[in-house]
Symmetry: C2
Subunit: 326 residues, 2 copies
């Protein structure tokens, strides 16, 4: 490509930060019903593991989502967070995600000085960038670090991506995320997209992040591919928990990164003590054939999630249904 990778395997890249999205993307698997014990142990574990950012959940509108039907990490009320993290007098930053169209941001994103939250991650589809920027401007004015996570970029055309990156470049957003929502991207595509994002990042002084999905068992591979070209914020979840096929596993990523500030053992203990019981309680996530099929066809995983919920195993028929739909 005529461009150099930013480091070799053995490089210690102090610019790389990791973000634990267990409560947020993992919450999609259990309607955000994590126990206080789970959340507190996860917080302590992330501190011990040297994690840079912990995403506490969504900042969803209670007018749109019934608080009786979701656990508290769907809403991330200030008092609920403080029960877990106190005033978070640590070096680890706390993040929340705010979806375009699903957050009363003017009401629910309060001034930073009254909040334990450090970063707001705004998730949008590529046609919603102007609204995302409006939200980011509000959040930046309130004093937060901001991200925009442009979802499902595998569906977007090159010129749409360029124009999105240009707009985000000119906005106050701190970090722009490459998001493979459908788990459909192969490493070669991730490399090309990362370089495109980095080009705008260099021009506008923005950091680039990556959020990968594991539909084709490439979440970890794609994450380190993006990192090798210069992505600096890497999303992960413990045991890969997350919607459908899940995310890049913390244990894989922290096992790979060379910065001595990261520690793998706390993650391993947390898996034994909290993730195995969570799985045994019936929460389902991780690679499975139906997710491969939606990922490969660059489709939303919703039909695969439904297929698995219905305990169907006729993969060939499901594949046929997906092809008919396209």
């Amino acid at each position: 490509m005529g461009v150099q990778r930013k480091g070799s395997l053995l490089s210690f890249r102090p610019d790389i930060k990791v973000l634990d999205a267990t409560l947020r993307d993992g919450g999609i698997c259990n309607d955000f019903y994590f126990s206080d014990a789970f959340a507190k142990a996860l917080y302590q574990m992330n501190l011990a593991a040297g994690v840079d950012y912990m995403e506490m959940g969504y900042k969803a509108s209670k007018a749109l989502f019934d608080p009786a039907k979701f656990g508290k990490y769907k809403f991330c009320d200030e008092e609920d967070l403080r029960k877990i993290v106190g005033d978070n007098k640590t070096d680890m930053k706390l993040a929340v995600m705010a979806d375009v169209g699903r957050t009363d941001f003017k009401k629910d994103i309060i001034d930073k000085k009254n909040s334990v939250i450090d970063m707001v991650r705004i998730a949008c589809y590529i046609n919603e960038i102007p609204t995302a920027i409006q939200m980011a401007e509000h959040c930046a004015k309130c004093g937060y670090e901001t991200c925009v996570n442009v979802m499902a970029v595998s569906k977007a055309k090159d010129e749409e991506i360029d124009s999105a990156l240009e707009m985000l470049g000119e906005s106050p957003v701190d970090v722009i995320y490459l998001v493979d929502s459908y788990g459909s991207l192969y490493p070669e595509q991730v490399a090309k997209l990362t370089l495109r994002y980095l080009e705008y990042g260099a021009k506008y002084k923005k950091r680039i992040g990556i959020h990968a999905h594991n539909n084709q068992q490439l979440a970890f591979g794609n994450t380190i591919e993006a990192a090798s070209w210069g992505a600096e914020l890497l999303d992960m979840t413990v045991n890969g928990i997350g919607r459908g096929a899940g995310n890049c596993s913390s244990e894989l990523l922290l096992g790979f990164l060379k910065n001595p500030k990261f520690h793998l053992t706390p993650v391993l203990s947390f898996i034994s003590e909290y993730m195995l019981p969570l799985r045994e309680s019936g929460v389902v996530w991780g690679y499975d054939v139906p997710y491969l099929l939606t990922g490969r066809l660059n489709a939303h995983p919703s039909s695969a999630i439904r297929f698995i919920k219905e305990k169907r195993t006729d993969y060939a028929a499901f594949h046929g249904e997906l092809l008919d739909r396209d």
Copy 2:
């Protein structure tokens, strides 16, 4: 790297051949006790899917391994194979694996004209190359296509690899395999090793193959990485079945390759009808935390397999044991 990848994602690479190792590497998970129905359906499925080579199992010495303790795919007697494949009057080639030191090759590898087998894959560690070449010479003289699979190359030094490739280059071997036995290689390392193998391949007119393991969820990613630089023989197993964390999944690889001769649907049906029941019968394989730990430490998966058999889940303690041992 100053070298070009051999194709882009959309390239149709007619040079790429796939090898189904389900009975062989998968057999390690159930002591090769596959039913005739399973093997026959797998054979038909591979034909329908456009698979180029089907590996039928090992050619193990009955003096060393008790035939009462293993299924027939550990030995691949001619009459047993013919019960499954008849005379195999098809375009798909049949392979067997012969381990250095575990095969009575002079007795058990018979003349090709009396065998339904097309290719003998000789597996060895890097210090056993001279013996592997002796076996390859015998097999070539008998009329077979030959491979040498140099195992655990992640443990070998660069100069050992160069000298192995030089010796294999000068031998009658047709294909040289890059084998990541411990699932410890990252894509960047696979790229570098593949290029090194290809250098000797170009010099001596040998094809290069890749056999990956999924300890770090990189079996598929590493396989397509090697293919993108020019590896031509790609190993896979249905649902990734194989020792420990298993192999590159056929459904992922055939879902990726662009050659219209490959078909995904037969694989999907086979998973529903045969692989799910196999898993339900208690056969265990696939990514799990202990395999990540041995892979990451570039260690044989045997201790992880034992850990899982003992139903232990204290991953942090296991990690400590692995570190002590090193």
